[in-house]
Amino acid sequence: MDDLNLLGPQLALLIGAGLIIIVDLLLPIVSRQAYQGRLPLLSGLALLAAAGSLGWSLALVLTDERGEAFDGMISVDDFTLFFNFLFAAVAGAIVLGSVDYLARHRFQGEYLALILIAAAGMSLMAAGTDLIMIFIALELQAIALFALVGISKNESGSEATLKFLLLSAISTAITLYGMAYLFGLSGETSLDGIASYVANTDENRSALVLAAVFLTAGLGFKMAVVPFQMWVPDVYEGAPTPITAFLSVASKAAGFAVVMRIFLAALGEGLITTDWAYLFAAIAAVSMTLGNVLALVQGNIKRMLGYSSIAQAGTILIGLAAVAAEDPQLLLGTSSVVFFLGAYAFTNIGAFIAIIAISHKIGSDQIADYAGVAKRSPLLAFALAACLFSLTGFPPTAGFIAKIYVFNAAVQADLVWLAIIGVLNSVISAYYYLRVVLNMFARDPETDEAFTPSPYLGAALAAAVVGLFAIGIYPTPLIEASESAARVFS
């Protein structure tokens, strides 16, 4: 029972998903009419599940309940709890952001249930302390996301699914190969067992490096960093926009969570650390540069945010590269990554929900068609502008603090060159982010017809924008949370 209590946040999501499927299945039997109007009921259930998950996580924090569950398969610590909050909150926001989309759509129950299942999988990814558990959680969210990307069953959606599914499956196989060698070298699948092998041996270093490279290649797909980013723009463009938001925030954060678990908990000691730190530093530099340069030339705003998310992932990786080189007492590298993921969640969710609201009204994802949105809907334009400023890294937004945090970690770890590349890239990124803002504010619209977002979108957007300013102005609570999450690995 103790095990189930610790796993409560994930179970709440899964039970919610099961309930939604059952209700969706049985409702037509009860009444045809009720089935037609099922959307408020189903999305209410989904929100309730997300809220239940958040509440349970909060209860675990308040009662100071920590520990391992299921024979060390899962560890509930501050790191896990941080990501529990993150994924449950993001799932809730995505449900709110999907209501308008779902109203025109057939598979409402499946869609909402799959979002909750994917969120549960992601939060298990952060919690898993055994390779078997991590693998299953990884696939749980991946398979749910395949179905979500292609749920509209139209041509571009199914093509996006094809690319996502094939590349994801290949990356999974590569990850598994890396895991097989970790298991073969250490004889253990638990991260603790692997860690004690890695810390106490000088043998087989090349095999270990090989395993680390395979793991990086496989998990790099989840984080969407160069050179494993090919799927990003196409899938972001082809998927329903709320799912794009989910992918860009939650799936990416889950990828980073797993990378931190494996590389910090299992490969965090011994000579191997310098090997993967340089690997991450190189990937970070290339990701930032390539992502930003390609984002410059995009005309579709979802594609642009896709490339920008590659660049952001590169920026986050700076923090991971800094971990190995820094003074272990500082904890700057790890906590900066955790902080960045939190701040990035607010920012990107806000940006995507604003895009859903605007694109729904103007009927286009092209940046050129965003001309004059500020005159038609000043509040929406302001919200999107705030999110884009945060992505660029202007004060007083969350993105500013996050970037300073990460660059500081790099400088403390003697990776000044990486920090300089990061700053230069922020300057490049300002160009394409501000182009959208300029388009919205400085140009005239074709019609003057005013519009407002639906209350669901408005609520989610308001929460995101308030959050990103709150973190930007008073970041201390989130910094403390990130530090206590990072302390798990010290």
Binding site: A173, Y177, G187
Partner: protein, 105 residues
């Protein structure tokens, strides 16, 4: 039975994995790509099983358990992938990966 060593199995696993990777990147037919991915998984499975047979370990069965889950997950993935293949064939009349290029690759 000692004469067939761990290395033999690892080499075969690596060859299977390599053939699968090549197939999944080079094949143009969607189902061919899926078969390549299955081969990669089987290469991984063989590696796991042979490690858990030969390596001294506190929990030697973990390799076997891992393989069972890999098989399950691969089946689930194949189910979704084949559903997608049917959908694509209905929409586009082809499952040739090259010809599915509405979005820029």
């Amino acid at each position: 039975m000692d004469s067939v060593d761990l290395e033999h199995f690892l080499v075969i696993g690596a060859i299977l994995f390599g053939i699968g990777l090549y197939m999944s990147l080079a094949k143009r037919n969607f189902v061919g790509v899926l078969i390549g991915i299955e081969l990669m998984f089987n290469g991984v499975n063989l590696t796991f099983i042979s490690f858990s047979r030969f390596v001294e370990s506190a929990e030697p069965l973990n390799g076997h358990i891992f393989v069972i889950f890999v098989i399950t997950v691969a089946a689930a993935e194949a189910a979704v992938a084949l559903a997608l293949a049917v959908l694509l064939y209905r929409l586009r009349d082809t499952i040739n990966v090259d010809q599915i290029d509405l979005l820029k690759w």
